[in-house]
């Protein structure tokens, strides 16, 4: 099992933004919140497998770029139609300027 992996530099993600991180055939989305905390979720929307990293981050919400499905990226909670399945989230820590995520 992979456990903690180095996803990106802390400065690679702008505040209130998201980037994509691919690792061993899986894809993740790494977020930096407006209050400067980091979060990670599965990279694909639970509705139609669209890359969420192309979407818009507003406060603690990520919005899918295609159909405006919204999730709270801190908890993974789906916020209503067209998305009804929650997004998986992953533990994150920042060490020496690197964002690490525990992909289990």
């Amino acid at each position: 099992m992979a456990g903690w992996v180095d996803a990106c530099g802390a400065d690679d993600v702008d505040e209130e933004d998201v980037i994509r991180f691919d690792h061993e055939g899986r894809t993740f989305a790494i977020y930096r919140s407006p209050d400067d905390d980091y979060f990670a979720t599965d990279g694909l929307c639970t509705h139609e497998k669209i890359h969420l990293a192309d979407g818009l981050v507003m406060d603690d919400i990520i919005e899918c770029p295609k159909h405006n499905g919204r999730f709270n990226y801190k908890t993974g909670q789906a916020k209503g139609a067209p998305v009804c399945v929650n997004l998986k989230t992953y533990p994150v820590k920042v060490e020496a300027g690197r964002v690490m995520i525990d992909i289990g």
Partner: protein, 411 residues
């Protein structure tokens, strides 16, 4: 006394969203959803895209399940049409002979493909609206058959792309001087045109049809410019007409769709209309009356109609938005481009770009963009918020790719 309940005619994206919204907003009375198709409510956008892409026949991408509908207490009557509305008695009469009373009625009857008179009765000519249409088209689309597409609009072009993927020779025939003339700025239509040509589609613009003749070996389409196109399958994609018959026969106003006010109410206070079938005034553009054939609008208006059926008085405010996917390109448009005579271009990376459409007073009224995948999605979404705010962003900032649109939104 308990009311007679809510009846929704049309079990597509809009009708279902309305039914679910009634429950989400705490309504406990009867909700009846009546659909002409036998399938559970399903998403239509994939019909011209993913449903055509697979090597096997598609299945409907349903939006809900029987279990969810049962749990929500929504009775779905499928495969049944509504024959008439009795406004005085406040009930609808079904094709089964049954009558259902309503306190409030929502017409979410959608639209149907515009017919091409010369294609009537020709077995090789097909249109796309329903899942069954998609299934029929996909089952005909065997590798290598010759495909003609009449109409260079979204449905026709998406199907052209799908047919190319299956190795079919494809000819698109458009009577106007360019494809996507109604909905998309010329600069973006040109990119889509070039992409189709690069994938081997033969596009004939600026020529109408002279005649169609069906023989044992296929269909012969004579063009007004003297050329002729031979095809095994001809897809007619020349627009959609709203289903207004039921409303018209009930004496409701019709004006390019069932005419509703900003709150989606018809001229009968007990009857609402929403989605593709209705025309409504949009405050954002000075009350201009428009009709939208778009997936997101169907959802937004379904939810809004539900709120107003329950006594709300909220006007439709959403910025029109739609998308199309062809080959690897994603197109998105927010707002109405024809409202903005001035255009500002912002390049997004190497090949993607966005056009901002500004009114004479500098107000941002629309944004259109195209690029690989969803490259322009985020900026179009931010532009949509700027449009909703009626913002007048500085032209130099709009053009500068290194100025974040989010910063303009906060300004």
């Amino acid at each position: 006394m308990q009311d007679a309940g809510m009846v929704i005619v049309g079990a597509g994206e809009c009708g279902l969203r309305a039914a679910m919204s009634l429950r989400e907003q705490g309504y406990h009375g009867r909700v009846t959803l009546i659909g002409a198709e036998v399938h559970l409510p399903y998403e239509r956008p994939p019909l011209s895209k993913d449903a055509m892409a697979g090597e096997t026949l598609p299945t409907p991408k349903t939006i809900t399940s029987r279990d969810v509908l049962d749990a929500q207490g929504i009775s779905l009557i499928s495969g049944v049409t509504v024959r008439a509305i009795d406004r005085a008695g406040r009930f609808v009469r079904l094709s089964t002979g049954e009558s259902i009373p309503y306190d409030k009625l929502l017409l979410a009857t959608g639209a149907e493909p515009r017919r091409l008179p010369m294609a009537e009765g020709l077995s090789r000519c097909v249109t796309l609206r329903t899942f069954d249409d998609a299934l029929a088209i996909r089952s005909h689309l065997t590798r290598g058959i010759r495909v003609a597409v009449i109409g260079g609009g979204f449905i026709g072009l998406e199907l052209a792309a799908a047919a190319r993927r299956l190795g079919c020779p494809v000819t698109v025939i458009e009577s106007l001087p360019r494809i996507l003339a109604r909905a998309v700025p010329a600069e973006i239509a040109a990119i889509i045109h070039a992409e189709h040509v690069a994938h081997g589609v033969d596009i004939r613009t600026g020529t109408g049809l002279a005649s169609m003749e069906e023989g044992p070996d296929g269909l012969s389409i004579a063009l007004a410019d003297g050329a002729s196109v031979e095809a095994d399958l001809c897809i007619i994609g020349i627009g959609a007409v709203p289903h207004v018959g039921l409303a018209q026969e009930a004496g409701l106003s019709v004006d390019n769709g069932i005419a509703v006010d900003a709150e989606l109410r018809t001229d009968d206070p007990h009857i609402f209309a929403a989605g593709d079938c209705c025309s409504f005034p949009l405050d954002l553009y000075g009350g201009r009356r428009i009709r939208l054939e778009a997936w997101r609008n169907a959802q937004e208006q379904g939810a809004l109609a539900a709120a107003n059926m329950l006594g709300g008085h909220e006007g439709h405010k959403a910025v029109p938005w739609f998308w199309s996917d062809q080959y690897g390109l994603g197109l998105q448009i927010a707002g109405l481009c024809d409202e903005g005579p001035q255009t500002v271009r912002r390049d997004v990376g190497e090949v993607a770009f966005i056009l901002f459409h500004l009114a004479e007073d500098g107000r941002l009224v629309a944004a259109s963009g195209i690029g690989p995948g969803n490259a322009i999605a985020r900026d179009i979404r931010l532009a949509e918020m700027l449009i909703a705010k009626r913002a007048c962003p500085p032209v130099d900032k709009l053009a500068a790719a290194d100025t974040k649109l989010k910063a303009l939104l906060a300004a």
